[in-house]
Symmetry: C3
Subunit: 134 residues, 3 copies
């Protein structure tokens, strides 16, 4: 079993937090890695990866609404595609998350889920997963 | 010596930056790992881990005060626990930091310290440490 | 070939995004590591490392201008060096980025580049690179 995998995602909205926790857990199980580190990395510059609560969907609503209102387009922006807020969010939230694998399981808190963050959708997107045993 | 450890933390304030640098250094020394990577990961969705100056405590004051003023509760927030600003900060600051181990030591800059970030305290919290040799 | 290297940087402006993608790619090739993880880490508390678009320089302009306008000095700041906005940005953007190495190459998206972020320049700076094979 390879220690790398790519997840394909089709986002539906301009800003969206897509829960990929189960897909990531399945990958960790399939790898049969007992101890190590996992990197979740998205190769896009207007998207990101974050860890946050996956119990109450209102948390995602509030984060997204806050980002939309605080990062609207500005007169001084020059980038002609008009998606500079999405690029800024990509640098703030970052393109990746690193996680610990312990006893063959992802070490996540009770309320933690892993989210692909769409900041300029809808688009077809990818997320790369990579395990380093150790 | 195992390459994993958990630190228990009791935060005292609603927002607080708790310096865990010495505990992390002690763990790296005890592991006797000469070269590798260290992941510092907190399993909470209203907290984070960051690296910043640990010389002048005014730096922490300014960061915390800025976060409090810019991330207050908003009318459009729906999450009933009332701690959406803490969730937003958790995604912005992120739940983890990755560091380099070189010659058996943490490779930190002169002014860098590692901080557990409480965004919704006071609470009992944990931070997981994991070393990947290599 | 060692799996670690340090890049020296001389920033020219107060805020600046310096593209280090080619230097990082050269390091990965020279290491002849086929599969693994790369950590790009800066040991400074008023700087950062980010991944964003390296095609249109206007993206960098917009990110920098947004940061400057939203993170100016505040009356309530106490840190006497007057660079608290740079410290805040360092925690928001973070001191490091982790990347995947696959088939001996950095796994970067088409538009992604790796940037050293100067938030309090001009200064002499360093960026540490470290590969964990696996």
């Amino acid at each position: 079993m390879s220690h790398a995998q790519t997840i394909d995602i089709q986002s539906q909205q301009d800003m969206e937090f897509i829960d990929i926790t189960e897909q990531v857990r399945d990958f960790v199980r399939a790898c049969r890695c007992q101890e190590g580190m996992l990197l979740v990395f998205t190769p896009h510059t207007t998207a990101g990866v974050t860890i946050n609560e996956n119990a109450d969907p209102d948390v995602r609503h509030d984060i997204g609404e806050f980002f939309k209102r605080r990062l609207s387009n500005q007169d001084y922006f020059r980038h002609s595609e008009g998606n500079s807020p999405a690029h800024i969010l990509s640098s703030l939230v970052s393109a990746s998350e690193a996680l610990i694998i312990e006893n063959g399981q992802l070490l996540l808190g009770t309320w933690q889920g892993i989210f692909f963050c769409e900041f300029d959708g809808p688009r077809r997107r990818r997320v790369h997963l990579k395990i380093i045993p150790g």
